[in-house]
């Protein structure tokens, strides 16, 4: 279906050219006159400042080059000039929809560097908050996907109505809705009150009812089937080779979930299943998110049932002034968007010598062009929506 794009020796690289008209005619020897349309960086459906330069033959996409860097603030250079603790609030701003799980990934990396242990209650709390973040992110994505498909905000507002309840829980626990800055090296910052745990438990119990209503609204919808099935097909072998991870990879049928492979944190204590798709198209990616939300609900109910009492912070852990011994560590978690990794290299000083974030959103875009070839421009918007990128993480 997606034949490799022929080489375009004659088409001048658009990036060198100054920012001319967003639409210009381009000639290329295979397809005759192409219409080169630049979608973004200010485009209502590219989820932030992301730009796609698509060469169109009529409606069909012949070439598609993503352009990044509009939100680049060199987060890694900042992290290398501040202390380990001071980088924690900055990790909230990486993937601003899932600050709790990004915090955990950074804390995991520093703990691996320090060889720091974490008490049981903190581990349970981390699993609970990571799974709640997964539900928040997936409901966000599913809402925005249907905005790209053309509904007038209805599914998005239903999804946001549910997401709002989770975010209020984050706010009452950590103090801020999306910038939680909640994990520390060796545990968590604030111990949730029993009322908070009770409220979270009731919220989890009636979340599946929302999912059922959402599926009744959309999953069987004939227009939705026509617009997403068979669109943006991803071949499993190419996906693994291109380093694509997370629900996008599992939608192509590859069984690779870091919660099961690495079993980091206390994930080995919970039994949950990993859904897999067979066709690897946009519909599978959408359904994968819905099924993963149901699995997260299962994990959360088990976690709430047997969360132990006890300290939330390792008594030996220091608050500030960490000076880890020289060495390096790479820790990774199964973030809602894919494998989120932190690579830290310390030379004994208060600041990390090298601080690197492995951005799942950026690497999942590697095969965006292969997925969009041959489809129309309306489909490319849907395919981009189903890959679920956040520009804060793509551009760092």
């Amino acid at each position: 279906m997606n034949s490799p794009a022929p080489a375009f020796a004659s088409v001048p690289s658009p990036f060198g050219a100054p920012s001319g008209p967003t639409v210009r005619a381009v000639h290329d020897q295979f397809h005759g006159d192409l219409l080169e349309v630049s979608m973004g960086p200010q485009h209502p459906s590219t989820h932030g400042v992301f730009r796609m330069i698509a060469s169109l033959d009529g409606e069909q996409i012949v070439k598609l080059k993503p352009v990044f860097g509009y939100l680049h603030r060199n987060h890694e250079k900042i992290a290398e000039n501040t202390s380990y603790l001071a980088s924690m609030p900055y990790t909230d701003r990486l993937d601003y929809l899932c600050s709790m799980s990004t915090n955990w990934a950074y804390a995991l990396a520093v703990e691996k560097l320090l060889g720091q242990s974490v008490p049981d209650r903190a581990q349970y709390l981390r699993v609970i908050l990571a799974e709640m973040t997964r539900i928040v992110n997936h409901s966000c994505l599913v809402g925005f996907l249907f905005n790209d498909l053309g509904t007038s905000f209805t599914p998005l507002l239903y999804a946001f109505r549910e997401r709002e309840k989770f975010i209020d829980l984050f706010e009452s626990l950590s103090g801020s809705r999306m910038m939680c800055n909640y994990q520390r090296f060796g545990g968590c910052r604030v111990d949730p009150t029993p009322e908070w745990l009770a409220a979270a438990r009731t919220l989890i119990e009636n979340f599946p009812r929302f999912l059922d209503e959402y599926e009744r609204l959309l999953t069987g919808n004939e227009i939705m089937l026509a617009r997403t099935q068979g669109i943006g097909r991803l071949d499993p072998a190419r996906a693994v080779n291109a380093g694509i991870t997370g629900p996008v990879l599992r939608a192509s049928g590859v069984d690779y979930d870091i919660r099961k492979v690495d079993a980091y944190g206390f994930y080995s204590r919970f039994d949950f299943r990993v859904p897999l798709g067979d066709h690897g198209d946009t519909y599978d990616r959408y359904m994968l998110r819905i099924l993963e939300m149901r699995e997260s609900v299962k994990i959360l109910s088990q976690a709430f049932r047997d969360i132990p009492a006890g300290p939330i912070m390792d008594p030996k852990a220091k608050q500030r002034g960490h000076r880890p011994k020289a060495g390096e560590a790479y820790a990774r978690i199964e973030g809602p968007k894919g494998e989120l990794g932190f690579y830290l290299l310390s030379d004994g000083g208060p600041n990390p010598y090298r601080y690197r974030v492995r951005p799942p959103s950026l690497i999942n875009l590697t095969l965006l062009e292969e997925m969009c070839l041959g489809h129309t421009i309306a489909d490319s918007v849907v395919i981009l929506g189903s890959i679920d990128i956040v520009l804060g993480e793509v551009d760092r």
Binding site: G150, T151, R161, I377
Partner: protein
């Protein structure tokens, strides 16, 4: 229809007009007679347009669990003392929108074709207003009694395509030309099922004049079941096809491709701003009201009362009630459905709606021929008619949605 039906309210608008006309000298009477009708239609449907925009935003809001606009109240210096506390539920929102549209700067692109750029909104509003001339609002409340009324309606409606092309071409902008081409493809491919879905009614009522069609739907069985065409198998199928085509003709929800913000930003309206954009916006709503008015007239029995007992209610209220219900249905569909891609949209029309509409005409012919069957034959007639509708729907439906089905998912071992 018993003569007692003409209560005072029923005849009031007509008598008012006649009283006003005979005030004037003889030569002016013909002109003023029609002038008053025109002014009345413009006033009623102008306000109807204004409050449809508000209703749409409030209804969509309620569909999405939020309040619609409720901030715009009457200006502060209004005489109503309680206004300060009471915000009138945002009902004065349309007037605020109108003022905004008027005062916004009207930018015309330098390279634009000035004449066509100005003419496009004029043509589209003119033609969509002309379609109101043949809709029977009440028992004898019809602006122009035309013998070929339906044909007139579709003739006026088809000219809006011309205006969309002029708008798309004159803006000298690749996006708007691409979008105008798409919009034209959509309008042309849905004009056929629209007209074909009305042909069965013409066949059964054997007339093209709208008021005669409404008369044909006058009777009730057992006083309660009205003889509206929508309650016959072919009528119901025709109504559904008419609804889908009307959605496409007025560029609304599942087919709002030209203004698909996720692709071509604002389609052929990209280069319009200020009052010209408001004119296009108004024309779209007039088109929507006219099409739903036609739907009410042809399928839902125009100004006929649903049952004998309610016959005393003035007829134009029935027409307005059904019109409002139809518009709420359109808004409800807009709040729920996704947008179709251009090739799926045209395939739906040519491979699904047109064949079904043609079969529906055959079905209506069968219905008309077997009009005098009675007793048990009546049931056979209904069964055959229903079969002619359902069987092709299932067959063509399955071929259309081949390969698309909700899937079941496996889990990792």
């Amino acid at each position: 229809m018993s003569a007692a039906a003409d209560s005072f309210l029923e005849r009031a608008p007509l008598e008012l007009r006649d009283w006003a006309v005979q005030l004037l000298p003889a030569p002016l009477q013909w002109i003023s007679h029609h002038l008053i009708t025109i002014v009345a239609v413009l006033a009623v449907f102008g306000l109807f347009f204004a409050f449809t925009t508000v209703a749409e935003r409030k209804l969509l809001g309620r569909l999405q669990n939020r309040l619609g606009p409720n901030r715009a109240g009457l200006p502060k210096f209004s005489i109503l003392p309680w206004h300060i506390r009471h915000k009138l539920f945002g009902l004065s929102q349309p007037f605020a929108d109108a003022v905004k549209a008027l005062t916004k700067e009207d930018i015309v692109p330098a390279a634009a074709d000035k004449v066509l750029h100005f003419l496009a909104p004029v043509v589209v509003v003119g033609f969509s207003l002309m379609t109101f001339a043949v809709l029977p609002f009440g028992r004898n409340l019809i602006p122009v009694e035309l013998d070929a009324a339906l044909l007139y309606f579709f003739a006026a409606g088809s000219a809006s395509e011309l205006a969309i092309f002029m708008a798309g071409w004159s803006s000298r902008n690749k996006y708007s030309l691409l979008a105008a081409m798409r919009a034209l493809a959509q309008l042309i491919s849905y004009e056929l099922p629209l007209i074909l879905s009305v042909v069965p009614v013409v066949l059964v009522a054997s007339t093209l004049s709208t008021s005669a069609i409404v008369q044909a739907q006058g009777a009730w069985t057992f006083g309660v079941l009205p003889h509206w065409f929508v309650f016959t198998p072919w009528g119901f199928a025709g109504f559904i096809i008419f609804l889908i085509s009307a959605l496409a003709e007025s560029n609304r929800s599942p087919f709002d491709l030209p203004e698909a913000e996720s692709e071509l930003v604002a389609g052929h309206l990209t280069e319009y701003s200020g009052f010209k954009y408001a004119l296009f916006f108004m024309a779209e709503y007039f088109g929507l009201t006219a099409l739903s008015g036609l739907g009410v007239t042809v399928f839902l029995g125009g100004w006929q009362a649903p049952c004998e007992l309610l016959y005393w209610v003035p007829s134009y209220l029935w027409f307005m009630g059904k019109l409002i219900l139809m518009i709420m249905l359109f808004i409800w569909v807009r709040g729920t459905l996704l947008r179709l891609r251009i090739d799926q949209l045209t395939r739906l029309s040519w491979q699904f709606l047109v064949p079904l509409a043609l079969l529906n005409v055959g079905n209506a012919a069968f219905w008309a021929l077997t009009a005098q069957w009675s007793g048990p034959l009546q049931l056979v007639r209904w069964a055959v008619s229903a079969a002619i509708v359902i069987v092709p729907f299932l067959v063509i439906g399955r071929s259309l949605s081949a390969g698309y089905a909700p899937r079941t998912y496996r889990y990792a071992p």
